[in-house]
Symmetry: C2
Subunit: 203 residues, 2 copies
Amino acid sequence: MDKPAYHHGDLKSALITAAMAAVEQAGPDAVSLRDLAQSLGVSRAAPYRHFADRDALLAAVAAKGFEELIAVYENALSGPGDGRERLRRGLVDYLEFARRRPGLHALMFESDFLRRNPPPRVMIGPADRAYALLWEAVEGAFPGADPVWVRARTVTMLSTVIGYRVLDNVGRFKPHMVEPLTPADLLDAVLEAAIGEAPARSD
Amino acid sequence: MDKPAYHHGDLKSALITAAMAAVEQAGPDAVSLRDLAQSLGVSRAAPYRHFADRDALLAAVAAKGFEELIAVYENALSGPGDGRERLRRGLVDYLEFARRRPGLHALMFESDFLRRNPPPRVMIGPADRAYALLWEAVEGAFPGADPVWVRARTVTMLSTVIGYRVLDNVGRFKPHMVEPLTPADLLDAVLEAAIGEAPARSD
DNA sequence: GCTCCGATGTTGTCGGCGCTCACATTGTCT
DNA sequence: AGACAATGTGAGCGCCGACAACATCGGAGC
């Protein structure tokens, strides 16, 4: 048993899993194809049978990250409560997701590798689906609102929660800047700012 | 004239300038000490006389970036208009600064190198001063507001504008997500969401 | 003016990395 | 059985960050 098989069996998904772990532990820059290959007991060139280059593997990891984010959204948005409560729960769960996995969040939204190439195909699908879920949640939270207003609100809402996570993940908020606000207070403030009020009625 | 001087003269600041150009053109990951040294006509080990390692040079570039951001803020905040108008102008100019220099913005707020080490000393000073300027502008825009409320609002405001730039800089907003909103419409929406309303009076 | 020494720059070297090429092995389809 | 595509191997290229030993420069003190 376990004789060193010439063929790994499922090297591709093993690489994605191992790369995701490396991303979460030390950030996207720390991912080394050689390291991954060695830790999986495979030669240095083997990964190139499954991914054109390092960025292609990172794109696959990012895609998996968006799949997980979709699951987070779907879980939060399908629960009880009115539209506004479900939207709030979705944002809370996104913020927790991003807080606990800063490396993965960086890869998905902030990484240099996103700027290197046009957006990799494997990740735009899941990323767009995640955005669509948020969009629908905003529609559900403001029933009957002007669709164009909903578009703008979705953009600003996402900007607020992502920006907060980006800044907090790099330690930008020092105690003297926010005291006496607790992390929970900040979470409430971010949610209130993100969700905001219903649109002004023009009739 | 121009005989190959053994001593460069001001290699340190030349390195920072060249590195900033590289960061702006191709992102923080693309900065190579060897490249910079060669393009400055100096040996590959010379940079290490002025910076402990690559990250130290990047920190110096980030610090310079924050100095420039401070100048942007000061220029916008010192002009005419009431507090709210000046605050809005500061945010507009920040957004323009970040839009035109995505690589530098990534280095200052998003880069992996910020996660690698504790925040480098050379940049925390300028970064904190920039934050303090925004803070004071928020105070000026909402005179007499509860100081704790101002703290929270500063955090959410910064989150919104930075998050928008992060997302837009990586091409996250596709036309079908925002149509028929123009970039100018989005700018207005982001500003309105960021600045928001005055605090509720509790008396 | 001379000497000495710290600051600055150079060359040589090491290990790690992404990536490619020619070759080896395996599983599968006919 | 034979052929072929998929998958894995080993060697090697060039680039990179970093360090060490050595070379040169320029100013401080005599």
